[in-house]
C-alpha cells in the first residue's frame, strides 16, 4: 500500500498514527495482513469494508485494546508500549468511542466524563467538572448530566461517550462503528457531533458504514477486505471511481438501496 503515504505527503501533514506491516491472527484467522496506514495530524480517515474485514480490529490495535503479532504501530512518533503504566498514559491520549457506548453504568453522565481527567490526568474535581459541563453542552446533553447512562437514549449515550473521550484532550479519536447500535432516528445526532469535531481539526479514525459521513467529513477513505487495505483514496474518488474490484462490489451492494 503506497496510497496512504503518497496522500499524506501530498497534503503535507505531520504523521500522527503510523502502522507498518501490521499482522494479527485470531487463532487460524488472519485478521490483519501486512497493514500499512499513516494518518496525519488533523486528518479524518474513514475505514469501511464488509464485516469481518478486520476494520474494527485495526481500530482497536491503535490503542492496543488488541495486541498485534508483528509490525509496528507508532503514535506521535512513539511506539506503543507494553501493558502497564506507560500504555495507560498513551491510551489517555487516544480517545475511543465504542459501538456499544460502554458508559460506566454505575456513574452519572457527568462522573463518566470527569473520571478520566481526575484519575488518569490528575486534574482537580472542580476543573474536570467545569470542562465536563462544557463538553456535555457541546454535544447537546448538558441537561442530562446528573442522570445515569441507562436513563438516556442510545444517541444521547453515544454523545456522552464522545464527550468522555474528548475530556482527555486526546491527540486522536478512534470511532469503532459509533452508529451501528443506534436506532435510525438517532444516527444523525451522533454524526452531527462527529462532523463538527472533524471540522474543528481533530484527528479521527472512523470505522463506519455511514457513507454520508464519509463523503461529508472524511479526508480519506480506506477500504478493507480480508484483513488487507485494498484502497486508500479521497472520498469523491473512492465513491465515484473505485479502483479495486472488491470496492466496486462492496459499493454496489450498499448503495443500491
Amino acid at each position: 500500500m503506497t496510497g496512504s503515504e503518497s496522500n499524506v505527503a501530498s497534503t503535507g501533514r505531520r504523521p500522527l498514527v503510523e502502522l507498518r506491516d501490521v499482522d494479527k491472527h485470531f487463532g487460524a484467522l488472519h485478521v490483519l495482513r501486512s497493514v500499512d496506514l499513516t494518518v496525519g495530524e488533523g486528518e479524518v480517515v474513514v475505514v469501511i469494508g464488509p464485516s469481518g474485514s478486520g476494520k474494527s480490529t485495526l481500530c482497536r490495535t491503535i490503542n492496543r485494546l488488541e495486541t498485534i503479532d508483528s509490525g509496528r504501530i507508532t503514535l506521535d512518533g512513539r511506539e506503543l508500549p507494553a501493558e502497564g503504566k506507560e500504555l495507560a498514559k498513551l491510551r489517555a491520549d487516544v480517545g475511543m468511542v465504542f459501538q456499544s457506548f460502554n458508559l460506566f453504568a454505575h456513574k452519572t453522565v457527568r462522573d463518566n466524563v470527569t473520571l478520566g481527567p481526575v484519575k488518569a490526568r490528575g486534574k482537580s474535581a472542580a476543573e474536570a467538572r467545569k470542562k465536563a459541563d462544557e463538553l456535555l453542552e457541546r454535544v447537546g446533553v448538558a441537561n442530562q448530566a446528573d442522570k445515569y447512562p441507562a436513563q438516556l437514549s442510545g444517541g444521547q449515550q453515544q454523545r456522552v461517550a464522545i464527550a468522555r473521550a474528548l475530556a482527555m484532550e486526546p491527540k486522536v479519536m478512534l470511532f469503532d462503528e459509533p452508529t451501528s447500535a443506534l436506532d435510525p432516528e438517532m444516527i444523525n445526532e451522533v454524526l452531527d457531533v462527529m462532523i463538527s469535531l472533524a471540522k474543528s481539526g481533530m484527528t479521527m479514525i472512523v470505522v463506519t458504514h455511514e457513507m454520508g459521513f464519509a463523503r461529508r467529513a472524511a479526508d480519506r477513505v480506506v477500504f478493507m477486505a480480508d484483513g488487507q487495505i485494498l484502497e486508500d483514496a479521497e472520498p469523491e474518488q473512492f465513491f465515484t471511481a473505485p479502483r479495486h474490484e472488491r470496492s466496486k462490489d462492496f459499493l454496489s451492494k450498499i448503495l443500491t438501496h
Binding site: N63, L65, E83, K85, A88, K89, L90, R91, A92, D93, V94, G95, M96, F98, S100, N102, L103, F104, A105, H106, L115, G116, K119, A120, R121, Y148, A150, A161, R164, A165, M168
Partner: protein, 216 residues
Amino acid sequence: MEFLTEHFDDFVNGFFRSLSIALWGAVGSLLLGTLLAVFRVSPIPVLQGFGAAYVTLVRNTPLTVLLFGMAFGVPGLGINASFYLFGVVTLILYTAAFVCEAIRSGIATVPIGQAEAARAIGLTFGQSLGLVILPQAMRSVVPPVGSVIIAMIKNSAVVGAAGVGSDLFSVYKRMTSALGYAPLPVLTAVAVAFLIMTLSTGALLALAERRMAVAR
C-alpha cells in the same frame, strides 16, 4: 429456663464473644477474599497462580482440619497467640477462599466493554478494577457473598468448639457439663443467639442490595 435467668450474663458475654469472632471474620475475609479475587483476574501470572492455588487448597480442606493445623502447627513455628486469635485468623483464611470465588463470579457479570472503556481513558489496571469493575461487580455479589458470610457466622461455632473460650459454644459446654443443665433448652438458647446474628446479617444484606439497585 432457670439457666437463662441465673446465667444471663454468661450468655450475653458469650454472644458478644461470638459476635466479635463473626465481625472480625467478616471484615478479614471480605478484604482477603477481594484481594484474592483481584489476584485471580490480574494480568500477572504469578498472582493468578497464587490465587488459584490458594482457593483450591483452602476451599477443599475441612475447617476443623485447618483449625487444628493452625492450633498445633503454627506454635511449632515459634509463633504464639491466643486461641481466639488463631480461631479468627483460621476462619478468615478459610472463608476468604469462598468470598474470592463469589466476587470473581460478580466480576464476570460486568460486561467486557466496561473494562475496555476504562482502559481506553487511560486508567491503569488497578484503577479500572477499583473504580469501574468492582463497584459494578459488587451489585451481583451481594447475595452470594451474603450466603458465605452467614455460613461463616455459623462456622464461628466450630471455631468456638475448637476451644476459643467464653463464646456461645463454650457457654453451652459449661452449662451442660459443669452445671448439669439439660442440653436441649441450652442449645435452643444458643441457636436463638446465632439467629439474632444471622437474621440481622440477612436484613443488612437485603438493605445493601436495595441501595445498590437504586444507584444505576
